[in-house]
Amino acid sequence: MQGKQTVRVANGQGFWGDSILGAIRLTEEGPLDYLTLDYLAEVTMSIMQKLRMRDPKKGYATDFVTLIDRILPRMLEKNIKVVANAGGVNPHACKDAIMEVLAKHGASGVKVAVVEGDDILDGLDGLMSGGEEFKNMDTGEGLTSVRDKVTSANVYLGAFPIAEALDDGAQIVITGRGTDPGLVLGPLIHEFGWKVDDLDKLAAGTVAGHILECGAQCTGGNFTDWQRIPDLAMIGYPVIEASPDGSFVVTKHDGTGGAVDRSTVLHQLAYEMGDPNNYITPDVIADFTSFDLVQEGENRVKIAGVKGSPATPTYKVSMSYADGWKSVGQLTICGPDALAKAQLCADIVWKRLEFDGFSYSDEERLMEFVGAGVCHAGLLEEGAAEPSEVVLRLGVKGPDKKKVGRFGSELVPLVTSGPPGVTGFAGGRPKPSEIVGYWPALLTKSKIDPSVSVFTS
């Protein structure tokens, strides 16, 4: 397998909920060796744990199964390999569903690998009694305060288990929680035979993964000068052409919408970057201040010279826990005097709730007048024109589900018992939903043993 001079890796799914069209079109509109797909966010793992508790065959990204059903013929014809973290908290159930799709298409002899070892929910107490504190990385607090409310706990695994699965001949690799850039770095390790001490190359693959991980965000999506980006509707998802020395070109398939230039790529490099000198993954610490970025041609940006340093001795752990309840609802208030009437509506809701014995502190409640400067509060010029209508968003949160739930029934009555021009209540009464608390922590690497298993259709 080794000896290729250029490997093409794309990302067709930037996050849970991204369009299925990006991935489908990547398999159809140009050359490709690897299609990576990112389905997981912190909150997703907790939702998937709940689904699995209700049904042992659930707890993975079902969108992935739908996608494979649609792209399988093209995947096999062009020998495109797929790496996806679609396994969630139940990667074997995901694999079983994929096997059914392969059988349905009569595709035999296709190897599907499962990477696991990231899910530490069941082993949490053992790890704690073994000395792991799981201190919250943001607050320094010990886990004991929320231990009995933890609903998911997963380690961010690195790229080497993915490379191992590909070494074993897998055409489809299903993982649980891993780093997002690892989905891209794994195939490069496999193709180019990079080793754990090839730090600059691992860092280069990590930078490539960071650029790809949000899909169309590096090809002109969510871009400051949006007016100059052609055909956003048919935006091309990103492809890198990687070389064995670690340099790579960011591009997209010919004829697709969007744009790849230094500024669209820089937008994504700066996204959620944190400290650019120390971009930490379990495989390497990448230095985002080290490389050069050159426009090499139309829709082609080359990155070379990435430097890396040795990884830390810990894995990052992402835990979620039940953290109370919240409820948010909205009404549209039409002018004249939209803002004044919306403010009156908010007052009315809180007064009626208080009359019935439910009062909420400022920390427990939200009032937003959308259309009158919410996202950019305090950043707008004074004396803006009166909005023609305002969306009144009210919300409450807290540990008491009943108290949070009571709020929802005082919103819609404003239609008949408030000022005129209140509408937009089609959603009915807002209902309380559970708040998923996020608990980032660290774990000694030697406590985890990632494993790879391969199945053949």
């Binding site: 943001d138 937008h267 994504q268 700066a270 970057m273 201040t289 919410v374 996202c375 509060a377």
Partner: protein, 118 residues
């Protein structure tokens, strides 16, 4: 010196980072970067976002990318799923920073034609 919105000389993208947001600012030209690196301190950004971010601001620099990266500590109304606010991921904070009105020296404006990226 002419008063101009930051968007005239810079671009930006933002997103969530824990209970705060990561606001990456990209200078449109080398001259703009040199000016911004000196002018746009963490304190100035903190003041700008005072209503949105009751927390502190830390600044990082990446000269190779002409990027100033700002971490706003507490700008998401609690962050993640606990937040009730509309922009619970800080997706609009980049544009919010670009709304800052700044005295930009004329030579920086001359070196950074409107709408360009060099």
């Amino acid at each position: 010196m002419p008063q101009t919105p930051l968007m005239r000389i810079a671009q930006a993208r933002s997103g969530d980072k824990g209970e705060g947001s990561n606001v990456g600012l990209i200078a449109r030209s080398e001259a703009a970067y040199v000016f911004l690196k000196d002018f746009l301190t963490a304190e100035r950004v903190q003041q700008h976002f005072a209503q949105i971010n009751p927390g502190g601001v830390v600044r990082f620099e990446a000269d190779n990318m002409r990027v100033l990266n700002f971490l706003l500590d507490n700008s998401l109304g609690g962050g993640g799923s606990a937040s009730l606010i509309t922009d619970a991921q800080g997706k609009t904070h980049g544009l919010g920073l670009l709304r800052m009105v700044v005295d930009v020296p004329a030579d920086v404006l001359d070196a950074t034609p409107e709408g360009s990226f060099q």
